[in-house]
């Protein structure tokens, strides 16, 4: 670790390293929580696209008007 950083913040080198490691660990923990949800959203979008195409295909094959006509 560069000593100039710790000097600027009036901290000794080991304190600086310790606190920086703690902050990075914290940030990675928050990143984990958020990235799980953001990536799940991408998956859900793909799921919605697949469902929409299946619904469109089903609508073409089984037309509701002819299936539900009452004659």
């Amino acid at each position: 670790m560069d000593m100039s950083h710790s000097n600027k913040l009036n901290m000794n080198s080991s304190d600086f390293e310790h606190r920086l490691a703690m902050v990075e660990e914290l940030v990675h923990m928050m990143e984990t929580a958020s990235l799980i949800l953001a990536i799940i959203t991408l998956g859900k979008y793909q799921e919605w696209k697949a469902k929409r195409s299946i619904a469109t295909m089903a609508e073409k094959i089984f037309v509701a008007d002819s299936l539900l006509q009452n004659e």
């Binding site: 901290m11 920086l20 703690m22 914290l26 990143e31 953001a38 990536i39 979008y45 929409r52």
Partner: protein, 145 residues
């Protein structure tokens, strides 16, 4: 009445059946994640990737990451990331958490959404725990000398 019987026998009577109509699918009934939300999710991924993986490698950023020193681990950087992650969890995770809770309480089942919820909530709780440890550590160091 005569017209009705006449139509019935000629096969031209068209009567709407409430029971059959119940099976008709309403148009645009498929709900899901729209493109707008997908773009926000991609932007969130990019922001978190840059803030937590690229910026700490930059030399000048290491000073900023610990600023102000007097507040211990609760620097501006950590508070900004905390606000970002909590807002992300509310925006993208609210539906997932609600589904997981409903599935567990009402139907007594666990599925993928339960796993995601456990992962996210435990990660956030761990963050709060580590912030608490950092604050206590800082306070003990200040009081001792």
């Amino acid at each position: 009445m005569y017209e009705y019987i006449k139509k019935e026998y000629s096969g031209t009577l068209k009567e709407s059946d409430a029971y059959l109509e119940g099976f008709r699918k309403s148009s645009n009934s498929l709900e899901g994640v729209k493109l707008n939300k997908l773009l926000w999710a991609l932007a969130t991924i990019a922001i978190f990737f840059v803030c937590s993986n690229i910026l700490p490698l930059v030399d000048w950023f290491q000073d900023f990451a610990l600023f102000p020193v007097s507040s211990g681990v609760l620097s501006f950087y950590v508070i900004t990331m905390l606000v970002l992650s909590i807002s992300t969890m509310i925006i993208f995770g609210r539906e997932t958490f609600q589904n997981a809770y409903t599935n567990l309480v009402k139907f007594k089942i666990l599925n993928m959404e339960s796993l995601v919820s456990i992962g996210c909530v435990s990660s956030l709780l761990m963050t709060f725990w580590m912030i608490a440890i950092g604050v206590i550590e800082e306070a003990s160091v200040n009081s001792s000398g």
